[in-house]
Symmetry: C2
Subunit: 301 residues, 2 copies
DNA sequence: AGATGGTCATAACCGGACCCTATGACTGCC
DNA sequence: GGCAGTCATAGGGTCCGGTTATGACCATCT
């Protein structure tokens, strides 16, 4: 005893075309099928919607009114469905993405331009956050995707490896270490060092690596922002210990970077998603673009 | 490949209850039926709407959004359907009615109070008009029902007899005809007469009746409104020839009315509707009320 | 008048959508 | 390690909805 969309379509088509036959044609139906739908609708509403005669069907006042109202409803439905299909076809949609600041300034632009080329109408809402917050936002469902790191497995998260980020020593111009090919933690420990804040994942990583070498990390300078740390290095205040990804490519040529001789000085940058949560088509497109950007040429050095 | 209302209901119920099982219960369905509907909707949209796991189904972002939008649409549909059913049940609705002024002031109030008792929420939009316009408005579909007269059959109209309206002579108080039981046209023709305008059906009727008696109607006074004519009679200016229905019951006791001795001095008041046009439930209710008002006691004298 | 063309309604048949019951697979919990 | 809860799957029956063919009716033209 309930109404169906087909019946609403039949009604509006019949009122608009003024004839059951033409309405049937418009809906790609046979005329009897249309007739039956209309009659069924009339029964379910208890209203006569058309006055039939041998020379056609005239809509009743009620029929006209309902056709108009239902017409608006149908338009709305069709619009919603079309919107959903656009999302499915990646022709629209938005992704929420949390990302480490270091990655945001290096890998991400390449990925986003690639995404824009393939799917111009997909919107990306960026949130840069430190590693812990990236993971938390993914777990809470505030973002669909995260780019960050993971210490130990997390049952709620699913991770795909993107690339490996190494900590490197950043030398001020003309530093006496300039001749060396690689630096040992011991050598570094005797120099004034420039690092990021204790809260950052980079800092935690560096401390752990030094600890493995039996050393205590005692930086001469700490900065919250990577760009500040780099500025301190350029000013010749010390040697920076910073992630390779974070170094802006335009600045690096002016500075000298050296690998550090410690296995623990590296971290795996991961693409994070909540376990069991499917990705929206837009998010899948973004994930693809990120993978391509990482795998194909536009990598970090 | 199109969407159905059942699927929309399934979606909104599932999102709102947060569980396929509870949604199924709300819709009086089995859980598998609900599951199938959701999956079918997902296929047709090409979107994943829920993330299933063994401990429940979580709506996707897209699922939540669509559920909300479709929820609004469903409410609208349900409201429209409810409105239609109310009309069908005569619990609402409006009728357009054209009616002769004479009838409007006598029969109609009784019919309308009766209608209001039975179906309080039905609105009646009144148009009083002279006989010709009553018929025209019915034919044009501007009104659903008309109360009027018909000279000769009209193929486009369907008529039901309501009652017979007679022209009567209305005497001023103390007139010398007061002693007679009935008046002849010949007697009347010698008196100063008061009638309505030449355009009115009452006037046409009176002229025809006099013509049948071989007389020419030459009124001493003409008025457009019945009430004016009555006032002239009360002022003692002449004898009124007016329809019995039109005489306001409160005024009649003060005046003396006599039947006129001519068969042609009567007209049949009809309930008119367009041939082949069904009546709305509200109009049917009004028609019933009119018939009852005519048939039962509240008749004209 | 009779034929004709147009309208909607009806009938008979057929396929698929839909629903139900029963059961399975999986997880989280006591 | 059962147990309770979730959703998915399978099988079977019903009914909705569609098609074609035909009928009834009216208007119009010849």
């Amino acid at each position: 005893m309930t109404i169906s969309l087909r019946q609403l379509r039949a009604l509006t088509a019949a009122v608009e075309t003024g004839s059951f036959g033409r309405a049937a044609a418009r809906l790609h139906l046979s005329q009897p099928a249309l007739t039956v739908q209309i009659r069924s609708l009339e029964q379910r509403l208890g209203l006569t919607l058309f006055d039939r005669s041998a020379r056609g069907a005239r809509p009743t006042e009620a029929g006209r009114n309902l056709a108009q109202s239902f017409g608006r409803v149908l338009e709305e439905v069709d619009q919603l469905v079309a919107g959903a299909r656009e999302q499915a076809a990646r022709r629209s949609g938005t992704v929420h993405l949390a990302v480490l600041p270091s990655v945001a300034s290096t890998l991400l632009p390449a990925a986003l331009t690639r995404l824009r080329q393939a799917h111009p109408a997909i919107r990306v809402l960026l949130r840069d956050a430190v590693a812990r917050h990236v993971a938390d936002q993914v777990k809470a469902g505030e973002v669909e995707l995260g780019i960050g790191i993971l210490q130990g497995a997390d049952a709620e998260l699913e991770a795909e490896s993107l690339f490996e980020d190494k900590l490197v020593a950043v030398l001020p111009p003309g530093h006496r270490f300039g001749a060396l090919r690689r630096l040992s933690p011991e050598a570094l420990a005797r120099e004034p060092l420039i690092l990021t804040d204790p809260g950052s994942s980079v800092r935690a990583l560096a401390e752990r690596a030094f600890a493995e070498a039996g050393l205590v990390l005692r930086p001469a300078y700490e900065a919250t922002y990577m760009s500040t740390a780099v500025a301190l290095v350029r000013a010749g205040l010390g040697i920076g210990v910073l992630p390779a990804t974070a170094l802006d490519l335009r600045l690096t040529p002016l500075l000298d970077t050296k690998p550090i001789d410690a296995a623990a000085m590296r971290r795996r940058i991961l693409l994070l998603r909540r376990r069991g949560a499917s990705l929206s088509p837009a998010a899948e497109a973004l994930a693809e673009a990120i993978h391509v950007a990482v795998g194909g040429g536009a990598h970090i050095r």
